[in-house]
Amino acid sequence: MHTTFLKSLTLMGQGMAGIFTVILVIFLLLLVLGRKKDKPS
């Protein structure tokens, strides 16, 4: 159980890092998209 718990903590670290990486890249792309001056819908 001890080992499984440690693995779950590893999963937490890697998982949150992975999610934030994807989200931050999307966030930056959203900012870039927002700069384009085209007609609002």
Binding site: L11, G18, L29, G34
Partner: protein, 378 residues
């Protein structure tokens, strides 16, 4: 004529318990209107599969061999083989989502990521309660607050608890208006809940709305390839909606497709609710862990917003962080209502909606990330 009594004489106490569970789910669906489109089929299915010698599931018959049942067949074809049902459902969900509030205020997407911490906290808690990493990860994904993602992840990882996980995911999504206010009040003061947030959205072009689903799919595909089936289907549905040249398909995806898949998904999941595997102490533990997952999600979102407030001039109402879960639009409505309870002039709805749709993106990414990481840790 003894065969007429065979069913009655072979009924076990566990099957009777499942009749009770089925009856309870039907009651909650009809009387309390808790996710009726899912809980009602699941409740009826729970009764159907637990009738002794039920022909709805595979049975061994003397002299004939195995006779296939419709629900086991549907499960094999629609979920086990390629997770078709939950994935197709995402096309409809994507077609229903308007990412406009998120595109108008991009920083809200960060709340979607933060609120997924509840998934991982629950996984750790589940391992402490004795579950294997595979089962713990499947249970933790209840915290995605997203039924199809929960079903898909638990099925791909091969968890034996797919039935209780699906019930917990859908039940607690319906109970968000009760769970979230409790969790938010645990970690906020009234003064914090009163923080006003002016709404000055930037304009969003049609081109941005069309590019968004394509870009998100490509980014998620490169960084977390395991998430691409989930994210891809969600974004495909959204592209159909936003392109404006496929309005009939968009309408079909939002109505016919979603209704049909939901109808079949509920009763198909019920095939996993056979008494012998369902009436266990683990089921109760999963229900408790599912509740914990929603509480952890909410707290993580609020705490992240508070941390963000340390660095920004324009303060964020910490409750908006709690909307970063996938339960849409219940969570956004809860935040709006709580904001007005603290200050009747406080309008948080559009911020909360933005965080809420961010939660929908982040939850499918979280599902994909877990599918990508867990096999490497076994």
């Amino acid at each position: 004529m003894d065969f007429l009594l065979d069913g009655l004489l072979n009924t076990t106490w566990k099957q009777l318990v499942m009749f009770g569970v089925g009856g309870l789910l039907i009651y909650l669906a009809i009387a309390k209107k808790l996710e009726p489109s899912l809980l009602l089929p699941m409740g009826f299915g729970a009764i159907l599969v637990n009738l002794p010698f039920s022909g709805a599931v595979n049975q061994m018959m003397v002299g004939i061999g195995e006779v296939p049942g419709i629900l086991d067949w549907l499960f094999h074809l629609g979920i086990e083989a390629a997770e078709a049902m939950p994935l197709l459902l995402f096309i409809g969900i994507g077609a229903m989502i308007d990412f406009g509030p998120l595109l108008a205020n991009p920083k809200l997407i960060l709340f979607g990521a933060a609120a997924q911490w509840g998934i991982f906290a629950t996984i750790s808690l589940a391992t402490l309660m004795g579950f294997s990493l595979v089962d713990a990860a499947s249970i933790g994904i209840i915290g995605a607050a997203d039924g199809p993602t929960s079903i898909l992840v638990s099925q791909v990882l091969g968890s034996t608890y797919i039935g209780p996980i699906a019930i917990a995911a859908y039940s607690y999504m319906a109970l968000v208006p009760i769970i979230q206010p409790f969790a938010i009040k645990l970690v906020t003061t009234k003064k914090e809940r009163m923080i006003r947030m002016p709404y000055n959205p930037r304009s969003v072009s049609k081109r941005s709305k069309i590019l968004f689903p394509i870009i998100v799919t490509v980014v998620a595909g490169y960084i977390a390839p395991a998430s691409v089936s989930l994210v891809g289907m969600l974004m495909f549905g959204n592209l159909i909606r936003e392109c404006t040249v496929l309005d009939t398909l968009s309408t079909a995806a939002q109505t016919v497709l979603v209704n049909l898949i939901t109808l079949l998904l509920g009763i198909t999941i019920a095939s996993t609710m056979k008494a012998d595997s369902f009436v266990t102490i683990q089921t109760l533990m999963i229900m408790a862990l599912g509740l914990a997952a929603f509480v952890f999600d909410t707290i993580a979102g609020v705490v992240f917003a508070k941390i963000l407030n340390l660095f920004v001039k324009q303060k964020v109402n910490p409750m908006v962080g709690a909307a970063g879960i996938s339960a849409f639009p219940m969570s956004a409505r809860v935040i709006q209502r709580m904001g007005q309870q603290a200050d009747p002039q406080n309008h948080l709805l559009m911020h909360a909606v933005g965080a809420n749709v961010a939660g929908q993106i982040a939850s499918v990414i979280a599902g994909g990330v877990i599918l990508g990481l867990v096999p490497g840790l076994l």
